[in-house]
């Protein structure tokens, strides 16, 4: 099980490195979104362009992070799996869990 979770986490990071052109890993720029009780917390996150955002699934049920336009898609996140994305372009990104679509969140990226 531990092995499986690691693979899940690695796959998530892998997907993001392909997706993110600029990767900023400094602690100041990192921001967390918790997936707990079938909701994203904070529901709306405002970050500067280039910030690394990490989602962590704290539920006993798998979830995903998918933008409404489906351009950004995480793998399936089992319990404690994480997904990392870097938002380079300013704008408002609404996203949802494609398994439980009533779960929605927003990332606002400012210059």
């Amino acid at each position: 099980m531990i092995g499986m979770k690691r693979i899940g986490a690695l796959a998530a990071i892998f997907a993001v490195t392909a997706l993110a052109t600029r990767y900023t890993a400094s602690a100041e720029d990192a921001t967390q979104v918790s997936i707990d009780n079938f909701s994203f917390t904070p529901a709306t996150l405002t970050v500067k362009a280039g910030t690394k955002v990490t989602w962590t699934n704290r539920d006993d049920i798998p979830h995903t992070v998918v933008t409404a336009d489906k351009k950004l898609k995480s793998t399936v996140l089992d319990t404690d799996d994480t997904f990392v994305a870097v938002f380079d372009q300013p704008g408002t990104y609404t996203y949802f869990c494609s398994i439980h679509p009533h779960m929605t969140g927003t990332v606002v990226v400012v210059p």
């Binding site: 539920d59 949802f96 398994i99 679509p101 009533h102």
Partner: protein, 313 residues
């Protein structure tokens, strides 16, 4: 979106969960009986001469968290329960979430345990947990032979027309379960030409009625599907997903959700969110179970008997 059930009605439904209920429809009026009541015994005897099938749901093979660390054992207990029903069920319906994470090994284990029921055939529809990878391609390869689109189909048996629908793919941000235009058009065509006296059974994973939209327990475009079913005299809708028994009757359409064999979920609105509910070990098997559905030709109503793995004390 409107809520189809008020709090009082909801509590009334929920009082039945896990207790083992037989319900029948007489002239559109549902009547329920405790499983150990005399009426249930009579109905059971009647069943021996009629046509019956089994519904199981939400086996979630691969789940191993605190709410149930051995979901294979509880699925197996459900299958043993089914073997004890008697009356030679014609087939079994699995209303989805066969696996927890769409892994081949999880499907393999489920298939192996389900075969132990020694029932000739099992019909499946996917739950959202069965289509987590490749947009459900693996699910369709394993369970969707001869089906249309994302895995929908129909068949006839014992004078009843059965329709399996898929409402767990192409879900949209902020929405609930979703059938989509292609499937709805297919359904309309499929039902065309059937006489209004044909009993219809529709089964899908997520409820086709609005149970509790705050938790995603409903299907966005189910009203259109139900509009095609209105002209039929006897329609039974069987769902899973919510891991507890609930029922509702709307006109000539009877809705019923099944227990899971894996883990219970809270009653709507009684917890911060849906999800696996941890209960004392001695209560777990009273909240998990399977269902037997019967149709006696000429009598119209289909009766659903929900059987918990272990009766509540």
């Amino acid at each position: 979106m409107t809520r189809d059930i008020d709090r009082r009605g909801l509590l009334k439904c929920m009082a039945w969960a896990g207790t083992g209920v037989l319900w029948t429809l007489s002239g559109g009026v549902p009547r329920s009986f405790a499983l150990d009541g005399a009426m249930a015994k009579d109905a059971r005897l009647a069943a021996d001469t009629g046509f019956s099938f089994i519904q199981i749901s939400d086996s979630h093979i691969g789940f191993d968290k605190a709410a149930n660390t051995d979901v294979t054992a509880t699925l197996r207990a459900g299958i043993e329960k089914i073997r004890g029903f008697g009356g030679s069920p014609a087939f079994m319906i699995h209303t989805g979430d066969i696996s927890h994470l769409s892994k081949p090994s999880q499907f393999d284990t489920a298939d192996q345990v389900i075969r132990e029921a020694a029932i000739p055939h099992t019909y499946f529809v996917p739950g959202e947990h069965d289509v987590l990878v490749d947009d459900g391609e693996m699910y369709r390869e394993r369970y969707g032979k001869g089906t249309k689109g994302a895995g929908w189909y129909s068949f006839d048996q014992g004078g009843v027309h059965f329709v399996g629908l898929v409402n767990v793919v192409n879900l949209r941000a902020g929405g609930l379960g979703f059938l989509g235009d292609e499937q709805l058009e297919w359904l309309e065509d499929d039902l065309e030409g059937k006489t209004a006296s044909t009993p219809i059974v529709v089964f899908a994973h997520i409820p086709l009625w609005t149970v509790y939209p705050e938790w995603g327990w409903g299907t966005d475009d189910s009203a259109r599907a139900l509009s095609y079913l209105k002209r039929f005299g006897s329609v039974t809708v069987l769902n899973g997903h919510i891991h507890q028994v609930m029922q509702k009757v709307e006109g000539n359409i009877a809705f019923h959700t099944a227990m899971s064999t894996a883990f219970p979920q809270p009653k709507p609105g009684t917890a911060p969110s849906p999800g696996p509910m941890v209960v004392p070990a001695d209560r777990l098997r009273t909240l998990l179970g399977v269902a037997q559905v019967r149709y006696v030709q000429g009598q119209g109503p289909l009766a659903v008997v929900d059987a918990p793995l272990v009766s509540a004390a």
